[in-house]
Symmetry: D2
Subunit: 360 residues, 4 copies
């Protein structure tokens, strides 16, 4: 990972600003001879794109991805796969009023102080629009993993906490997730969440969220000591998503409260299967996958662009106030689900390839 | 970060097993002409080493570090600094009984499955003994940052939750931390913690902990989009520490529960100073340091080696039980404080140098 | 350097196939606030592009580069600069006849054997067309170096050997180079070269070339021990150019023939200037720039696509023959001059930034 | 490759100064379960070490390597292999007289200017003593490749030009190389070389050399576009060796003089074998191994430390003269043979693993 490139063996580099002509992604190190079409990628792009419900930004981006290289006659060639997504509904006017003010909670201030220049339109490079590129990369990683591991491989994410409202994770149903606009896995809370989020939006404020990503069918042995631990790379991957402030693996922060007796997952053998009796470890021991489901969760802070007045300063260092217009998600965490899945897919493929190199 | 190497510009590579002849560390990319002595490093080594109180492992390691290269006439030369720490009190006998069994909660199973071979003595490479090398690297990073940034620079950590018991973070006193065996910053809870931990040990079990690391005096502008965000690198650094399962930046997981109004830190100007009105962001906006204190916390799971019986399997795949003898910390989280500080120092210096390269 | 990415701090990733819709390049780690326009890049693109004289391929590519990100209001922002160059004159028909045959001297055979699939049209990813992307990256590196170092900074290359014909390097005139279609620095040989190359082309064969790149105004101290030596990185950079088979630094291979007395460059001080009495070292000692001109040269093998019949095999492993139609340079080495300059610029900027990080 | 670390998947980091307590090497990413003993490494160490004949430095170093980690019960464990070699015959006195003078042809001047400090004793980090660490790493790489590829795998190097004297490469006999102190493959010239080198030494000067490295039994498909080409990595690897100024792959610089008809290696099929009719490509096409022998050669400049007087300046910038005492090789190129082999082994294994990751 360096600057705008993620990964070691399966690597992708993203580029582009929110209101520039386009954004995009170059995927490198992809295994050859994997069937790949534009459609394979578009499906996930559509899951992330804004404007699909009243609970997300009304910016209308088709997020149509074009493949420019690396695929020949429907198959990957092992050379870089370049993808481009044109920005079609950028309204830079919306941002004129804030070009000299730093929005609290955003990276306006730090970008300006670091670089001495910033593309303020729509947040420029800091915009969550960059995450569309990740979803494109993740879709390719998923395709490769499906090809290599087979049908048992699956990565799926869901929102498990919407602001102050949780859900019952034991009610998690994969199928339910795509049926509601919140990526919520628990049918029983959806009505409540809907009402709650409408209230949040009406108040002119916003709320945070917690997302859980589950990966199943993962081979034992992915990950490597000491600074390429699978969980360390997942943590970096998830923390690199805009607005993410915390990452848990398995029991996560909660494991601090457990006793040694409760926490360590006992192991049993049943026929030819190794079965863990619990999964506090989130499927990772010593940085290496154990064959259990990999469970990671992360917190997305509430959208910082809100209609309410906030104190801030301007470029000249004067005190001022700001309330952000434009089109914003009342809860950016919702659309983080396909992004979290994408990052998980990329980390898993990266480690799959590294493990293949060293150990298989 | 790749395998056993951490960092981009300031890089260190660690090596060694718990019961091998020695462990060590090679620091590369260190700026030249920085005063550095063995003592500078030993101070931090002593803070981490076991056997200092009844609340940590009774393994008696002097953890004396020797510098083998990269320092000439008391100053760094810009070439690799190699450090070695001999293992002097390894009792491999203790581990004979478990060489064919996988300890639950440890990486025994995953290492064996991944590599087909493992040095079972004291956990081999998976042992937390590796973290001594990190502390050595971190001590050098700290020295360099003190030289470059000056006296205002400070990184300090503390245990803020010991198993089920918290402390009042508002009572945090830096000086208090070194006065008690728990690295606890809040004097008022120490007696309680002591009693609690003795109870845990007596029960033959163990407990987890939460550690908070605070960095002050950090220049604005450290960190880089998108996959070298300062918080993403901190997350990876902390998650790479043995037994860590969760990482928070600022309000962390808790930020999911905040409203947009509560969460974004308002900005004010007072004279020549920019002052944030709160620090939910933990000093990082868009992956770049804002000049506020950087606050990160992490959870350490309870020690997996406990005296109580646990179900597991052996190398042949047979069901069996295990209770771990040997000398273990009732709470490994305690000694994680200097390790967390070391990782923070390394990440900060790494980004300090990268920012200098691109932007200064 | 990894797969399709070059550089450590100043990094670029290229993508695209000869007959795909476009090729391109993402430049990352570029310092902010550097004035940069499309024109700055186009100038160098035009020096490399084919179809300009009867001595280069007649493929007519305008090689118009578009900047898609990373530049705002005429200045770099420190975020990735994505550039795209559309392929406009690809004639894939020309390649139908060879899609199942491996052209000797080309990478057809090795790509097919490695990946099991290849885009045979125009050589796909193996095509020298990829080098257009390098020239775009190099133009940016040059702009930054001019900004940081000032007017004394200069990188210029020339063809010093065309097939069997050399030139007198002592006659080298920078201005002369752009006046002739051979990038020849010695006016006195141009007519001879012209006649010679027409003969080569007429014969249906091709010839090789040697190119020398000179960099002046380079600060002392660029480069780093041991595996980031400036000359090691220059060697990799030049050897990565298509058809390059040898690289010399300073006296290069010839230094094997010198005595110690002849070879080591004596040093003198004149006023405030350090003056070397010769430059066998090519401006690099111990992998670090000495302040002298950096001199590197490289050999480009003759174009492998020739009109004459060559023995080869096909995909099925049958013996066959091939003579390559299509539009080819009689000497690919000629157009390698701006490419060599570009790579030199990129390596120098990369090391400039790394030196700034560690030592300034 | 970064600073003192070489490689992508199979990585090694070297450290240590010529007259410090020790030098060493950490090998990371090594496949597990490969039989490895100290002896395996010592054999190659002995081939490189000085003091074995009157034609090399009289410094008497046993170069005994110790393995400190990463090997358990005679097999690699997949964790870092740390090796240490103590310096036993350093005579720093010899260097007192030159501590303030810059030896021409050495890196004294550039190290001092870059870092502002240098360990002048024996050249410190710039010393060719560092290459002992590479030989240790290369010995491990060789062991792994022998295990993975089998008996047909072989890397062997020889001196093919000693100063002004060449040899007949067609007389190359592998067995001959170890029988003479010059690593010369052609029996017929040894007497001549001996007489010549004695003359060189007697004159107080030194001479250069050319070394050729041949690798056979290499699978098709090693190497990767575009900036990880096998030949680009070999070029960097060889150019990173002290005193190397030029690198050729196959016909190398000479290929500039060939016609397209002569240069491209025709391909034939005979039974189940693909046979190239010549090997101008040096076994690499488009950066990828073709299955032919890989042939690389490099030039080592003459030893810069000579007994004769040379003009130079001192640390204060005053003109002065220097003649170097101490113990030096009349031709450092001779001992470069096992070093070149070591680097070739490391590059090949690195690419073997990368190819396994992406393509197998």
């Amino acid at each position: 990972m360096s600057f705008n490139t993620f990964g070691k063996m399966f690597r992708f580099t993203t580029w582009g600003e929110s209101h520039g002509p386009a954004i995009g992604c170059v995927v490198d190190g992809c295994p050859p001879n994997i069937a790949l079409s534009q459609k394979d990628i578009q499906i996930d792009m559509n899951r992330r794109r804004p404007g699909k419900s009243k609970f997300t930004s009304q910016r209308k981006e088709s997020d149509k991805v074009e493949i420019l290289s690396g695929v020949f006659q429907g198959k990957t060639t092992g050379t870089p796969i370049s993808m481009i997504i044109y920005n079609t509904d950028a309204r830079s006017r919306d941002y004129e009023s804030i070009k000299d003010k730093f929005r609290p909670g955003h990276a306006d201030y730090t970008y300006f102080k670091k670089y001495g220049i910033r593309d303020y339109r729509g947040g420029g490079r800091q915009s969550a629009r960059e995450t569309a590129s990740r979803v494109a990369a993740g879709a390719i990683a998923k395709k490769v993993l499906q090809n290599k591991i087979g049908k048992k491989f699956k990565v799926i994410g869901a929102v498990i906490q919407l602001g102050l409202l949780g859900c019952n994770v034991k009610n998690w149903k994969d199928k339910e997730i795509q049926k509601n606009p919140f990526f919520c896995p628990d049918k029983s809370v959806i009505k409540l969440w809907e009402k709650y989020l409408l209230g949040v939006r009406k108040s002119g404020s916003s709320c945070g969220a917690m997302i859980e990503i589950r990966a199943s069918g993962i081979p034992i042995g992915l990950g490597a000591p000491i600074y390429s631990k699978l969980d360390a790379d997942i943590a970096a991957a998830l923390m690199s998503i805009n607005a993410v402030k915390g990452v848990n693996i398995g029991s996560g922060m909660y494991s601090a409260l457990l006793s040694g007796l409760e926490n360590s997952d006992e192991i049993r053998r049943k026929g030819k299967k190794t079965l863990f009796q619990s999964n506090n470890a989130g499927g990772i021991l010593g940085g290496i996958s154990s064959g259990q489901d990999i469970i990671a969760s992360f917190a997305v802070k509430p959208t910082s662009s809100i209609l309410l007045n906030r104190k801030t300063i301007n470029k000249k260092g004067k005190n001022t106030e700001i309330s952000v217009k434009g089109r914003h998600d009342p809860c950016v965490g919702i659309r983080a689900v396909p992004i979290g899945e994408a990052m998980m897919n990329c980390v898993l493929l990266d480690h799959y390839l590294m493990n293949k190199a060293q150990c298989k």
